[in-house]
Amino acid sequence: MQTIRLFLASLLLCLSLLGAAWLQSRQPRPVSLLPTLTGQVEYCLTCHADLPEISPSHPVETFGCVLCHGGERLALDADLAHSTMRGGRNPSEFAVVEASCGSGDCHSGTAQDQRDHIQRAVTSVQGTYAGAIASIRFTYGAQSDQTARLGVYPVQDDHLTTATGLASLGTFDPSQESSPSVKAFADYCLDCHLSAEPLPGAQYARLTGCAACHTPTANTDLDQPVHHLTTAIPYTQCNTCHNRGNYDLRQMQFHPRTDQPVDRLHDYYQPIAQFVRCEWTLDCVDCHTRFEAMGDGDIHSNKKEIQYIQCRTCHGTLDELPLTRTIAGQDDLALRMAFLNPVIDLKVGDTVLVTEQGEPLWNTRQLADGAFELFGKATGQRFTFRPVMGTACEQKLDQQESRDCHECHSVKR
């Protein structure tokens, strides 16, 4: 009798061990990755092996996943593994970007070594929204001039390089405002800066932080994560915030457009505005430079202080050729940008256009006959154009702003 009990107990023990062995066999086989930058093995690929490479400049064998995303590199339980991830699914959110994109001094540093991306983006007008806030507050009497004092988050800049740069911005707090119009502005109009969550809908689909521009999500379902970083930013990505509707400043309302624009020239832009062929053919990034889009490192009160590209930057004027620069060495910024987005095969010795502030228009090149070629950064399309000097242009010499060019060159729609 006693032996039977012992036998049954041993049988139970056997079965429990077999059960444990079965459970062990059901564990996912760990897939390891040893990134060269960290030297610490990670097992994220056990579950995420089907994720596409995020970009050619961030190969997973070099970076791994944890360097950017955080998380527990050894855990195979989803909740634990994801518990310490920075910024949830987007480590480029401004709240955590310094630890992610900025870690190891990759995208965080000085202007001298061209590693000040985060500093520039965080102080940019697109980031701080200082321009809109200052204009509205000035318009409704909350401040006496148009110099920005507040942003959507507080920010400081100890190193001013421009005449209009500000030292710091405080936080715009609607509860401290007395004007009802300014309060209404806070309620209805703060959906479009780099750290704001977008409005619902595929037309507004974008992430926040660096990914707002650099991860192309426009017109997709934001619930389907996009694992992609690019500098070839199509105009559709800009239009998740821009060209989305009309503001009514008296009612302080935003009236979103309700159509689904198809034809860029006829549908996309405001009916009353004028556009030249560049503006409905090229992508925004083909003209608007790094300083314009991401900031020059200084806090500015208005986008007018930072936006400076003009028709003449590429085309020159009747009595001036556009500024150019010949690439002298392998370290030239133009070469590095072209390497990141190889729509153009730039080489040392090529001559590219530069802006008045010295920014290279690296997707352009001077041709042998003095004309220029330009390659669309997002499309790769090639265009050629001649400088204005020596053409039949009838513009007065002292009226060379872009709006003056528009008088003749804009298209009737």
Binding site: T3, I4, L6, F7, S10, L11, L13, C14, L17, L18, A20, A21, Q24, S32, L34, V41
Partner: protein, 145 residues
Amino acid sequence: MNKKQGPVSKLHRRDFIMVALKGTLGLSSTLGLIGLIRFLGYQSDPAPQTEFELGPASNFPPGSRTPVPEAQAVLYHMPAGFIALSLVCPHLGCVINSVEQGYACPCHGSRFDAQGQVLNGPAREPMRVLRVEQTPGGQLILYTG
């Protein structure tokens, strides 16, 4: 089952249960042992590097003998091509020193000539020859695996 079998069948039943008991205990022990071996066999340290990028072939002119400390090897540019000798002593694994006319191991006194052949000492085998390959772009890669 015939209950009037008597003492013989009782013994058979007891033996059977005893066998069954020993069987299950044996099986449990075996399962436990297999699990234990798998448990202890897990290696947490990442495997050591076995491929080393040495740089452009032009950095190593013909006739040169260049130490590669991170790979514990010496790179030779022979007339026939690139080869490398492993500086891990074939005797018991100490790192061999380069000397005037060849190599000398500081641990037990093995001596090798410049080609890695044994001159003297407890080592019986020559220094291991390692494979070096050249990429289409002219970069040398050393394999120690």
